[in-house]
């Protein structure tokens, strides 16, 4: 180490300067977590396709009154059971309602049910999961046992029973809300467990320990350190949950236990296929709503996968 002194002093100066790998680092774009997320998501072409399909479906449901001149409930006995034509692209049903219109409005109902069911799921799931994860101990124990109880209800029999008991007392237009609640109240435990797990692992992260060492209040730790780091996962799980909720709604409605006619949904529109004659000869009555369910669920799942990959810090 001859001449060590000189080198040391020189080095001192270097060190006080910022650690700088390349000179134009200062001008480099700041990559916020959100920007990183968008960038990663954009790379996933399949998910972009899913997103586009979904946007088209949502838009066409929202703009239904503009897109079609017909009313979904207006019957026209002069035009019953017509095949597709110029006026009625997908024909008419047994009471002369324009079928395309009913599919568009049915999409409104199906997606609305899916959306609100998921909102209920998130509110309950995130709250219960968050409380269980943050407080731990007996709170955690009670909440998790409760969620296990809810989880072990068989979904279909219970949904059918509730729907059969309450359903008859409610007018058809309101049945939609019953379905939302059945799905929402039965599907939160999965989300609650996920949120709990997230919070549990976040709580042990050193940045939360650091916040405690800095004297940051508990409420701020929850608000600033815990919640923002779980939101991504909740969004992903909600997206995937919505696909499930749409499927559940369709299933229930198909069985006649969900939303019932005259309110159209994709599920009860497929009901037509239960007649063998229609199944064989008039596929325009059951194929389009089936395709709609398929497209909606598939595009939401593709989107959800893309979101998950973009949020997961481990994926590239």
């Amino acid at each position: 180490m001859e001449g060590g002194e000189q080198v040391t002093e020189k080095n001192l100066e270097i060190e006080k300067k910022p650690v700088n790998m390349n000179n134009n680092e200062a001008e480099q774009e700041i990559l916020s977590p959100w920007k990183m997320f968008v960038r990663k998501f954009k790379k996933n072409k399949v998910s972009i396709v899913g997103l586009i399909i979904l946007i088209i479906m949502i838009l066409s449901a929202l703009l239904a009154p503009i897109l079609t001149p017909y009313d979904p409930y207006e019957m026209d006995y002069s035009k019953i059971n017509e095949p597709p034509s110029k006026e009625h692209w997908l024909g008419t049903d047994e009471v002369g309602r324009d079928y395309l219109t009913r599919i568009l409005y049915g999409g409104r109902v199906s997606m609305k049910v899916g959306l609100f069911a998921v909102i209920i799921e998130i509110i309950i799931g995130a709250l219960i999961g968050g409380l269980a994860g943050y407080y731990g101990g007996w709170v955690d124990n009670i909440l998790m046992r409760f969620s296990e109880i809810v989880m072990s209800f068989p979904f279909l029999p219970l949904a059918i029973t509730i729907s059969a008991v309450i359903g008859t007392k409610v007018e058809p237009q309101r049945r939609m809300y019953i379905v939302m609640m059945i799905i929402g109240f039965l599907s939160w435990p999965g989300l609650a467990r996920m949120v709990r797990g997230q919070i549990l692992s976040l709580r042990e992260q050193e940045f939360v320990q650091a916040a405690r060492a800095l004297g940051i209040r508990d409420s701020k730790i929850i608000l600033r350190h815990l919640i923002p780091n779980t939101v991504g996962y909740i969004i992903v799980s909600a997206t995937l949950g919505m696909a499930g909720a749409i499927m559940s709604e369709s299933g229930l409605s198909f069985l006649g236990l969900g939303v019932t006619p005259p309110t159209p949904t994709w599920g009860n529109l497929i009901q037509n296929a239960r007649e063998v004659y229609i199944l064989r000869n008039r596929m325009w009555l059951w194929l389009p709503p089936g395709v709609c369910i398929f497209l909606a669920v598939m595009s939401i799942n593709l989107l959800g996968d893309g979101l998950r990959d973009a949020i997961d810090p481990k994926s590239k």
Binding site: G4, N11, I14
Partner: protein
């Protein structure tokens, strides 16, 4: 001078979405039989990828050995069939990994895992393999070998697991043992035990060892010859005593000066400014020049070759003759 392994101009690239990562970029070295070679470098310098390339364990895609020859016992490992390389793995060349926790399969007993290779490569019967397994466990200094053989990895401590890994790696009496940071996850007193064991076994079985580590202390103690890597390239290659006495590459010098125990009492640690460059955006010229205090225009523009400056001492630096510790 019997060369057991000779790596010539090895290049292993990874083709990622963001570009080509030249993880190993023209590496040359050789291992003599019965000797230990130490490969030193910081995370991301390509030392582990070099080892995995030798065993052809590079995940493909995205990784690929794009160039070079790896002669082992006169055979080029980059050209042999998959069947053959599988026979060489675990039989002629075996590997110990850093993480003793994850490198053992938790659902099989220790004995099963040692026996597997013996039955496969040495064609031993189950009974013979079990005997041999117990013998190996004894050899690596684990007491109660006949009980341990039936235990599961989670029942063992970290040091014990690493011993089991070594027992496994040595069970087929390989000619070359590749040890990738074998003691990094262990405590110093356990590390001392494991290093002692590896040295003992080397002398007993005449195995060559390729020791990959970032710890210069471990290298000094274990190796006969040392290679220093930086950003996928060999920057210095010398016998261990020569390297520590007379390091010639500014990176090697910087590394040594940043180790507290090599610096005298009360003196300020020297540090290498900045950080290892992103392998996607390597600087022009010598990869080390942005962090090098001796860099000149020559270094910024041209890439130095690995050249011999003294017998057996190779350095890739334009100014190797001028710099020193």
């Amino acid at each position: 001078m019997d060369k057991l392994l000779e790596v010539k101009d090895l290049k292993t690239y990874f083709y990622t979405d963001d570009g080509i990562v030249k993880a190993v970029d023209g590496v040359n070295f050789s291992v003599e039989s019965g000797k230990t070679i130490g490969i030193v470098g910081e995370s991301g310098c390509g030392k582990s990828i070099t080892a995995m390339s030798i065993l052809r364990l590079i995940p493909d895609p995205p990784g690929k050995i794009v160039n070079g020859e790896i002669f082992f016992n006169g055979k080029d490992l980059t050209k042999v069939s998959d069947e053959e390389i599988r026979h060489i793995r675990g039989n002629d060349i075996s590997m110990i990994f850093q993480e003793p926790m994850t490198s053992l399969n938790p659902v099989f007993t220790v004995g099963d895992q040692i026996m597997e290779a013996l039955i496969l490569h040495q064609k031993l019967s189950e009974e013979e393999a079990r005997k041999k397994a117990i013998q190996m466990i004894k050899l690596v200094g684990i007491p109660r070998a006949d009980k341990i053989v039936d235990e599961y990895p989670h029942q063992l401590s970290g040091g014990m697991r690493q011993r089991v890994m070594i027992a496994m790696a040595l069970s087929c009496q390989p000619k070359l043992l590749i040890a990738d940071e074998p003691t990094t996850a262990l405590d110093v007193t356990i590390q001392a035990q494991i290093l002692e064991l590896m040295n003992e076994l080397k002398n007993k079985l005449n195995t060559s060892i390729m020791l990959i580590t970032h710890d210069l202390g471990v290298v000094a103690e274990m190796s006969d010859h040392v290679i220093v890597m930086y950003s996928g390239k060999v920057v210095e290659d010398a016998p261990v005593e020569e390297l520590f006495k007379n390091p010639r590459h500014p990176y090697t010098i910087g590394l040594m000066n940043s180790i507290p125990s090599l610096i005298g009492e009360g003196k300020r640690l020297e540090s290498i400014k900045g950080a290892v460059p992103n392998p996607l955006y390597l600087p022009k010229g010598c990869y080390f020049h942005p962090r090098c205090k001796f860099a000149t225009d020559e270094c910024r523009n041209g890439q130095p070759e690995l050249r011999e400056i003294a017998s057996g001492h190779k350095v890739s630096c334009f100014r190797a003759e001028e710099v020193g510790r």
